[in-house]
C-alpha cells in the first residue's frame, strides 16, 4: 500500500454492510403511511399544535430517509457529526430570530402583523404603491377591512 495514514479509525467507521432490497421497500411503505397521516391530521387544522405535529411527522420521515436511504445508520464518526452539526445550526438560526421577535418592542415589528401596533399597510397589487415606504395608501382598499389594526 502506497500511503498508510492516520484515518484508519474513520475508515472503519465508514464500512457499509450490504442489506437486502426489502429494507428499502419497508421504509418506502412507512414514508407513505406517514404522508397519509400528515395529510389527514393536517386537514383537521388542529389550532395550536397543528404545525408542531406536522413538523414532528416530517422529522420522523426525514430521519427515516437519512438513516436508511442515505445510510447514515451505517456510517459513524465524521459523517454523523457533520449532519448533526448542520442541524444544530439550523435550529440556532431559527431560534434566535424567533426569540428576538417574541420579545421585540411592538413598534419595531412589521406593520399589520399580529404583534404590531402599527396600521396595516396596503399590500396592494399595484406595482407603484407601497414600493417606496409604507405610508402611501389608497383609500377604500383592503387595508382597512382586513388589516387588524390593534388600537
Amino acid at each position: 500500500m502506497g500511503i498508510a495514514n492516520e484515518s484508519r479509525q474513520e475508515e472503519q467507521n465508514m464500512r457499509e454492510e450490504h442489506h437486502g432490497a426489502g429494507r428499502y421497500w419497508l421504509i418506502w411503505g412507512l414514508l407513505l403511511v406517514l404522508t397519509v397521516v400528515t395529510v389527514v391530521t393536517g386537514r383537521i387544522h388542529i389550532p395550536t399544535w397543528g404545525l408542531v405535529l406536522a413538523l414532528v411527522i416530517a422529522s420522523t420521515k426525514g430521519t427515516l430517509v437519512l438513516l436508511y436511504f442515505m445510510h447514515l445508520a451505517d456510517h459513524r464518526g465524521a459523517n454523523r457529526l457533520v449532519f448533526a452539526v448542520s442541524i444544530i445550526f439550523v435550529v440556532l438560526l431559527l431560534a434566535i430570530p424567533m426569540v428576538d421577535l417574541g420579545t421585540r418592542f411592538r413598534g419595531a415589528t412589521p406593520p399589520g402583523s399580529t404583534y404590531s401596533d402599527l396600521q396595516a399597510i396596503d399590500i396592494g397589487a399595484d406595482a407603484e404603491e407601497g414600493r417606496y415606504g409604507g405610508a402611501i395608501r389608497k383609500e377604500g382598499k383592503m387595508g382597512e377591512e382586513s388589516g387588524a389594526p390593534k388600537q
Binding site: 465508514m14 428499502y24 411527522i57 436508511y68 459523517n79 452539526v85 438560526l93 402583523s113 382586513s146
Partner: protein
C-alpha cells in the same frame, strides 16, 4: 467527490482508478462520501435560510399563513410528495443494485427516478400556472381578491422562493442521476468496488426529497 467518477477505468477494470494522493481505495471513497455529506450540510443550511423566513413570517402573520396555505391544491401537493418519495426509493434501489453489479437494474431504477422527477416538475408547473392565473403571486404582483390579509403576499413570496429553489435542485439532481444512468448503460462498470458515483448522486436526490418532506407540510398543511 469527483476523484473516482472521473477515473474512466474502462470496462476491463472493475475497480475505479485510485488517485495518486490517496492512501487506499477505502480512504478515497471515504473522502468522497465525507465531502458529499459536507456538501449536503451546506445545502441544508441554504434551505435553512428560507425556513427561517418562513418561521418568522408565520410567527408574525399566522392567520394569513393559514388562509393562504388553504388556497393551495392539497391533492397535487400530496401526489407530488408520493412521487418524490417513490423516486427516492428507486434511487436507493439503484445504489443497491450498483453494489451488486447489476448495471441494467441500476439504469432501470435511475430511469424510473428521472421519469418521476419529470412528473414532479410537470405537476409543479400546473400548480404554478394556476397561481399565475388567479394572481396569488409574490409581493407586488399579488392580485388575488379571495384572500385579503396583510402578510398573504409574503406567504407567496416564501412559497415561490422555496419551491423554485427546490425545483432548481430537482433539475440539478436529475442531471447528476442522468450521468450515472448513461454510465450504467454505456460502460456498465458499477460493482461492489465502484458504486460511489451512483451513491453520491442518490444521496443528493435523497436530500432533494428530504427538503420536500419538510416543505410539503409547511406550505400545504398549516
Amino acid at each position: 467527490m469527483q476523484s473516482s467518477s472521473h477515473a474512466a477505468g474502462g470496462a476491463a477494470l472493475p475497480v475505479p482508478r485510485l488517485a495518486g494522493h490517496f492512501a487506499s481505495l477505502e480512504v478515497q471513497n471515504h473522502a468522497a462520501r465525507l465531502g458529499m455529506w459536507l456538501f449536503l450540510a451546506t445545502e441544508i443550511l441554504l434551505f435553512a435560510g428560507l425556513f427561517i423566513c418562513y418561521g418568522v413570517y408565520r410567527f408574525l402573520f399566522p392567520e394569513a399563513w393559514a388562509a393562504a396555505s388553504r388556497s393551495l391544491d392539497l391533492t397535487l401537493g400530496t401526489i407530488n410528495t408520493v412521487v418524490l418519495i417513490t423516486s427516492s426509493l428507486t434511487a436507493a434501489l439503484a445504489v443497491h443494485y450498483a453494489k451488486e453489479g447489476k448495471n441494467k437494474m441500476v439504469a432501470v431504477q435511475l430511469g424510473l427516478t428521472l421519469v418521476m422527477a419529470v412528473g414532479f416538475l410537470v405537476i409543479k408547473y400546473f400548480e404554478y400556472h394556476h397561481k399565475f392565473e388567479i394572481g396569488t403571486l409574490p409581493g407586488r404582483f399579488y392580485s388575488y381578491e379571495g384572500i385579503q390579509l396583510p402578510g398573504v403576499p409574503l406567504y407567496f413570496t416564501v412559497y415561490f422562493c422555496a419551491t423554485a429553489l427546490h425545483g432548481i435542485h430537482v433539475v440539478i439532481g436529475m442531471i447528476v442521476l442522468a450521468f450515472s444512468m448513461v454510465r450504467a448503460l454505456k460502460k456498465a462498470d458499477f460493482g461492489p468496488n465502484n458504486f460511489t458515483m451512483v451513491e453520491l448522486g442518490s444521496m443528493y436526490w435523497h436530500l432533494v426529497d428530504l427538503v420536500w418532506i419538510f416543505l410539503f407540510p409547511m406550505l400545504y398543511l398549516v
